[in-house]
């Protein structure tokens, strides 16, 4: 964003793009464990952000890697940075332990030197690069949410970004999603997971249950979440918006969101005690599973109240 002379913070993009979400995705398994997400797919966040602020973005997917490369080169020649959705497994600069078949990772390519692409990856402290072949491999990773060369880039900007109206739209959309009457989404989704967690030790055995619970924590605290399943970054957005809109209520709600974020961290800490200690009996493990499930139910109740208040605050 800064490239085109607009200074917009990461929480701002996340908030306006309605990034916050909670969704349990049934039937899908990654790394042999169930999947839940704490955010929307980054492509969607950008799409919503752009639409609400008046930026025109172009999004493209490709079936042929050659076309995908040609379009990328074309943009870079015009000095136009491009966002790419990629798979993590073949990203060579990732530590081995982090290379899973996860396809919803995003990066920005901002230039090309010889046959190496210059890359800014949000999880890296400094910029990095990939060869043509390496980049093609991650752009055409296979599996769930296969990126299919997905790329997006701005084609025109408004004179001035209309942040105020965009913020209101973004918040409303998030409240709607979090309070949606769908059993696997938002607050209801959190209750659903809590219910599943209660069943795991008996239904799947301790080993699998621990593995599943570990995955829940890893998704919540993944690199790039800013901690607490994106709750902190959302609180940062509310604080910034509250000041911008002169809305004291949003600043107050930001504090509340921070506290909810802390509860998510507590849940992760409690959950980690379970899977760290693998030798306990089934009985005591079932109790601890019930305990973390209670924590989740509590968080869900708080978030329900929170998003109702948030809806009224704007």
């Amino acid at each position: 964003m800064k490239h085109n002379g607009f200074n917009v913070s990461e929480p701002m993009v996340f908030g306006i793009g309605s990034g916050l979400l909670f969704c349990y995705i049934p039937f899908l398994k990654v790394n042999h464990a169930p999947v839940i997400t704490y955010r929307a797919l980054p492509g969607h966040i950008f799409k919503k952000f752009a639409k609400r602020t008046g930026i025109k973005m172009k999004r493209e997917k490709f079936s042929n890697p050659k076309d995908a490369k040609a379009r990328l080169d074309e943009n870079l020649e015009r000095n136009n940075p491009v966002g790419l959705q990629v798979g993590v497994y073949n990203l060579l600069y990732f530590p081995d332990e982090y290379r899973f078949h996860f396809n919803a990772h995003n990066m920005v390519v901002y230039g090309k030197e010889g046959n190496r692409y210059l890359i800014s990856d949000p999880v890296m402290e400094s910029v990095t690069s990939l060869s043509e072949k390496e980049l093609e491999k991650v752009r055409f990773a296979k599996g769930a949410f296969a990126p299919k060369g997905h790329m997006y880039y701005p084609i025109s900007f408004p004179e001035k970004l209309e942040l105020e109206t965009a913020i209101v739209k973004g918040i409303k959309d998030t409240c709607k999603a979090m309070l949606a009457p769908v059993p696997i989404v938002g607050v209801k989704g959190i209750h659903k997971i809590a219910g599943l967690i209660r069943k795991w030790p008996k239904q799947k055995g301790i080993k699998t249950a621990n593995h599943y619970l570990g995955q829940v924590v890893r998704m919540q605290e993944e690199i790039g979440t800013g901690g607490g399943g994106f709750r902190y970054i959302y609180a940062a957005f509310l604080q910034e918006s509250g000041k911008l809109l002169n809305n004291e209520k949003l600043v107050e709600l930001s504090k509340e969101m921070t506290e909810i974020g802390d509860l998510w961290r507590d849940f992760a800490l409690e959950a980690s005690r379970i899977y760290k200690n693998r030798s306990r009996s089934v009985g005591s493990q079932t109790d601890s599973y019930n305990k973390v499930a209670d924590q989740l139910d509590h968080i869900a109740d708080l978030e329900k109240v929170f998003f109702k208040k948030l809806k009224k605050a704007i």
């Binding site: 929480p11 398994k29 790394n31 042999h32 497994y89 600069y93 990732f94 530590p95 332990e97 982090y98 290379r99 899973f100 078949h101 949000p122 999880v123 890296m124 402290e125 296979k142 599996g143 769930a144 296969a146 621990n210 593995h211 570990g214 995955q215 924590v217 890893r218 605290e221 690199i223 790039g224 800013g226 901690g227 607490g228 902190y232 970054i233 609180a235 940062a236 604080q239 910034e240 930001s254 504090k255 921070t258 974020g261 802390d262 961290r265 992760a268 800490l269 959950a271 980690s272 899977y275 760290k276």
Partner: protein, 135 residues
Amino acid sequence: MKKKEVPQDKSNLESANFRELCYAVDENGEYTTENSSGWEPKTVALKNAIEEINERIAEAKNRVIAGETSPIEYYMELHKMDVGILASYVGFWHWKVKRHFKPSVFKKLSRKTLNKYAEAFDISVDKLKSMSLEK
């Protein structure tokens, strides 16, 4: 989370020169960012997941040696894949990939088919067939 509470636990991030960006509030309640070197609950979850994968790989290896499955399954586990992911990389149906796990079927696979698997695993066909089962 307060800025000074951002965890700085030991993790394998350091070796790769990685640090995580966390959002936290400073003394005045203002949001800011702070780098974290890792957080134990997460490191343990990751460690357990890696152990689990290593167990799966070792088990697949034993089954290949015992003649119960083909090297395809071993390499699939080695690359942290499941049947669905492997199937989409090689362009076959699930059931077909599973059939190729049978040593008797594996022996009769054409060079073309083997090549698809070899490409997905980034190894040579000879290596795939050799049963040497290296990393």
